[in-house]
Amino acid sequence: MDKNYHIFSDGRIERSEDTVRLETDDGEKKHIPVEHAEAIYLHGQIDYNTRLMSFLNDHGVAVHVFGWNDRYAGSLMPERGQTSGRTVVEQVRAYDDPEQRQSLAASFVRGSIHNMRTNVTYYNSREYELGGVIEELDNATARIDDASDISELMGVEATARRAYYQTFEAVLPDSFAFDGREYNPPPNPVNALISFGNSMVYANCVSAIRATALDPTISYLHEPGERRYSLSLDIADLFKPVLTDRLLFRLVNRKQISRDDFRDEVGSCLLNEEGRTTFLKEFEETLERTVEHPTLNRKVSYQYLLRLEVYKLKKHLLTGESYDSFKRWW
């Protein structure tokens, strides 16, 4: 699996000979090796032209654009080999069949809770007392099969996630008080870290989905249209505990991220450039980390696990073979 490249500065990227060149407004020049790029993430104000887009298209490199406060603004995806009418038809058919949609949505919830629980048990076995949270998560899991519709499943997921967030209060130092999950804008450092990390998980899921012929807008647990790429939300939920949360705990507890890595504004708190750089360096290293896969009989990167998840879903949709969501096994 190839690498992600993040650009924070303002400037311009262009094709230069057979590679991509970044020229920042400060006059600095850098090259991005296109053969080894999975996607380029633009966090600053960047100019580019159509010649660059065709070049990236030829090399299958995606571009993810982030706007103000690093909110996901959209993607420029390579076009090659990613359209299949039949796949989209089967995707919609599964959405439209209440039983099949329910079973897919239930599988996403089951996987999400399982992966939250893995984090909780990890910290519970160390010095923290989190037995109550584990019990709440198990109660939520027990309710999955009884849920009669999607909104009940969403409720089960929400209950589980609320219980899970008690882990953040317990594990993180007092200077990083959490006070519950709040989004736009995040009011404190922990929420800022979660938001930033989750938006990276989300964008990586968009890449993984678009590398196959699945349509990223047709989803099962989340309602299509809730956000543009709602299938990314379905998949991302499975991986947030593995990719964002564990990293967040580690960075804060080892003081690699401190209060100085944020800038406070009225009613909001965001990572500053230094904080984002630190977080992303570790995030990308996490994506490259590998684990022995139980059925593929080889090591796969965490990033490739996202792609495999999309393959599993696609296989289910096209062959009728059952889908079992990602559950951390190590």
Partner: protein, 181 residues
């Protein structure tokens, strides 16, 4: 006319067929390599284009015989790598899957004979190994092609693919992760 073989001939000859049936050379090859792969191929389930062995196969096809192979002779359902002195030549990067390649070539010869009404001899070529093998269509081979056509029909009309079974070459298949994850 329910026999897949006669349906295929009628389809290829442009007759009005209620239920046209097509078999390409690649489908014939897949039938002998992996029936599951054949089902995927028939549904246009796209392969992982980053897969190294897929890229390799394409490259050998394009480079070994230079300009000539770019033309890729299309004859209805089949597309020949090249014709050399009137002989049908099928180019393969390696000889690891010789029997499937031989059957693909046999199918081309059968197609020439039954659909186009011309007898042809065939050559299986492995340019990277500098090896060539003559193939001709005898009665035995002819029967084998026709029973394969019926077998292919049964697979591609099924609602779900045959179950995955582990084969020695699964590792290098573009569908490997799709099958085994």
């Amino acid at each position: 006319m329910s026999d897949p073989v006669s349906r295929l001939v009628a389809t290829a000859q442009g007759d009005a067929v209620d239920n046209p049936f097509r078999v390409t050379g690649v489908m014939m090859q897949y039938y002998y390599v992996c029936e599951r792969e054949l089902w995927f191929e028939s549904r246009n389930i796209e392969i992982d284009r980053e897969n190294a062995s897929v890229a390799r196969g394409t490259r050998v096809d394009e480079s070994s015989y230079g300009e000539r192979s770019q033309e890729n002779l299309r004859l209805g359902m089949i597309a020949l790598d090249l014709l050399e002195d009137g002989r049908v030549v099928e180019v393969k990067p390696s000889s690891t899957l010789t029997e499937p390649a031989r059957m693909q070539l046999s199918y081309y010869l059968w197609y020439f004979d039954r659909v186009l009404g011309v007898e042809r001899e065939g050559v299986l070529a492995h340019p990277t190994e500098r090896r060539r093998e003559d193939v001709s269509l005898d009665d035995d081979r002819c029967d084998k092609v026709e029973s394969a056509i019926r077998g292919i029909h049964a697979i591609v009309t099924a609602d779900s693919p045959p179950e995955a079974t582990e084969k020695p070459y699964c590792e290098s298949c573009a569908y490997h992760d799709f099958c085994w994850v």
